[in-house]
Symmetry: C2
């Protein structure tokens, strides 16, 4: 049997959590329009708020703050407020956050490898 399946099946059957399986749980953490990007740029190094906003092009304050907060309560991101004037707030990945980043590498590679196919597929979704 496929490896993924055996893992999932056992998870499903013994489930005492609100999650259908481990993948379901993981997706709840990384789903969000800007979260992957935030993870990426923070995986490089810690960043101040404005710095991060410039990296994640096109994001609004509302969304950036919202997603950062969620990542923070999820324990992925650590926020440090230096209580200075003018304000200086730095965001960085926690050790836990880095384990997530590692787990995402294969999926990232998959996406990079098949970018063309995926792009064409998304176009088909609209026209069809």
């Amino acid at each position: 049997m496929h490896l993924l399946v055996s893992m999932v099946m056992s998870t499903v059957r013994s489930s005492t959590t609100p999650f259908i399986c481990g993948l379901d749980a993981a997706l709840r953490v990384v789903s969000g329009k800007w979260k992957p990007l935030i993870l990426f740029f923070l995986a490089k190094d810690p960043k101040r708020y404005g710095e991060l906003k410039r990296c994640v092009r096109g994001v609004s304050d509302k969304m950036l703050i919202q997603q950062l907060k969620e990542l923070e309560v999820d324990g992925i991101v650590v926020r440090t407020d230096y209580k200075e004037i003018p304000p200086r707030v730095v965001y960085e990945l926690s050790p836990f956050g880095f384990t997530l980043a590692d787990a995402l590498i294969p999926l990232c590679e998959w996406g990079t490898e098949h970018t063309d196919i995926i792009e064409k597929a998304l176009v088909r979704r609209v026209t069809a």
Copy 2:
């Protein structure tokens, strides 16, 4: 530098696609409330429509069909209509679909490993 970062950065910089990075592209394929589950059950073996619906507990016809169609145009799932009466339609993963399933294994493991933490975090999201 963290491995994920170097990968992503190169992707971002050379991007000629609508995607921010490979992970972004990949998430567009697997995001969807029922898609992970569909992938899981189909990774086990091909299934008829009704059979699949019984596996994915709680899904409506509308959503199941919609997500299956997207997975189909994405080339992840193959639909075979045997044109019988009563109807018999079988869904299964394509070879491409299996490569995606493989890429999801580490994320699935991560989610399974940290289910408790994630669950508590989601509760905090609501209360906070």
